[in-house]
Subunit: 173 residues, 4 copies
């Protein structure tokens, strides 16, 4: 199992697609985006679910946390059942987010990867993508890494996703 953590527009999804291509065995990819897609539409924009504020902030409520915990247990179970699984997440809670994953994965072997990107560059990419709420890249660039421990860190500020993925793949093989 590989868990990538990084802010919005730091390039996590691109790295995951490259990893799935580079690694000889088939890896399943899940992440915070696919989890949010699995939620009822009415939980988006609700106090109990997940809310995006005008300045790029993200707030999650009790229902979100409860479903997220069950989702993490399930994703870890896929790995226990024999699937190779790569996850990309945004540790809005820093070490608390990492602990939630650690609780779910138990004794599973995990490679923790930090995906860093300079806030200014991530903000430029957020604008170029056009599909994300503005401000998220800047707000998340630093805070998601504070207090989190990694086996490996990559930085997409001046390095292509494919090159970062090669660095990670070299540690998995």
């Amino acid at each position: 199992m590989i868990i990538l953590n990084g802010g919005s527009s730091s390039g996590k999804s691109g790295i995951v697609r490259c990893l799935q291509d580079l690694l000889p065995d088939p890896w399943l990819a899940f992440g915070v985006d696919s989890f949010v897609d699995a939620l009822p539409a009415k939980m988006r924009g609700s106090g109990e679910g997940i809310e995006f504020t005008a300045d790029g902030g993200v707030e999650v409520g009790a229902d979100f946390r409860a479903l997220e915990a069950a989702w993490m247990e399930g994703v870890a179970e896929m790995a226990r059942a024999g699937a190779r699984v790569v996850v990309d997440d945004v540790f809005l809670g820093g070490p608390a987010s990492q602990q939630r994953w650690q609780k779910a994965i138990g004794a599973l072997d995990v490679l923790w990867v930090g995906v860093r990107c300079d806030g200014t560059v991530a903000t430029a990419r957020e604008l170029a993508r056009g599909d994300r709420g503005r401000g998220m890249a800047a707000l998340q660039a630093q805070v998601v890494h504070e207090g989190v421990l990694y086996d490996l860190e990559v930085n997409t500020t001046r390095t292509e996703s494919l090159t970062c993925a090669r660095t990670i793949a070299a540690r998995v093989g």
Copy 2:
């Protein structure tokens, strides 16, 4: 846990979205589409992965089956961990597909729902949607239901997804 089975363009996804809106508790939604999205791109169109033939046929290989089994275990584990989970699937193997789910879910309480749609109508909707390989709706309309046992069946041929969802929700509440 709710498991919906039906052919391509039978209206499963629409029913799931309505169910997530109707049911008072939050339900997570997964399905064969989100599973295929989690696969490496190189497994789409590969003999070991999943192939779509020109006439609408779907063929899956050994790697697909192995990852699917792990994915089913994980989805069932989410339900065991306390999440309410609705799944939509296409039982290309009929009762063999249902048995794969039964193996994963074990003692969990499941509502099995058949989503039927007349092949001609499903084919018309496939054309109107424009995002699916042509021919899948017709090929799958009957075969996915053969030998499968349901707690409840709905039919979208002349009934809106929301109405079908209300019928299902009444059995869950």
Copy 3:
């Protein structure tokens, strides 16, 4: 040139895809959705651009109207230059919207088609689609047709898009 007018979730896009398939000659398809996609992101949610209110209302400003007029001229010019063009629009202004198109198309031959759908059914389909602001279907179902003159009307309440498209295609052939 064919211009379809109908409320949100009335089934216009599905009819257009079926028309493009049924008609022997190739037809280009444009519509209010592709026009809004062409706007700067910052015009969405702005007083000068286009705003969607919480209850499903849509309000457009001066910049939107000016660009829309130029866009209509351009789409009409494509038809004058020899392309067959089908447009789907939402006449929020009723006859005023139709007059805007009439000004752009001038002497071009146009088939005006009304796409009706019962508000309750359109609302059910809006929920099942899950990609539109809630409330638009109900608010628009009647008002977009008031005072508008058609060569042909179809009704998707109980008729598939493909069947409606066949009715339209029979008038074009």
Copy 4:
């Protein structure tokens, strides 16, 4: 009017989104992708329409060319009618493609912009995006620029889209 030309995955769309944000006036954005979306689905993968070969090649037929010419006339007409329009295209025919646009735009004032990207880097981004046929980036990186004349060239190999857009915007303002 601004016309950007560059190979697949060279970063044209990101530059366009940034331009629409940077420029104080509202600009409409069109391009080869929105044109292909307007075509009948049956023209994709057809000899008369547009075909994508397994190695990333693109071949277009007579119907494609005829509709494209009418589309170019219409886009130019939008500019004549007062809209500011930015177009991104892939000049597969090099100078012949540029001449097609010149015929449509006539006396309109146009800024011709070349968007260059090293083939290796474009190929890496193609893999990271995951939504394009593989091989297109490498095949198109050089050939689309051969014999084409520009007012301005930008290079996304080591420069963010936003920075490239600022260079272009400075010439427009």
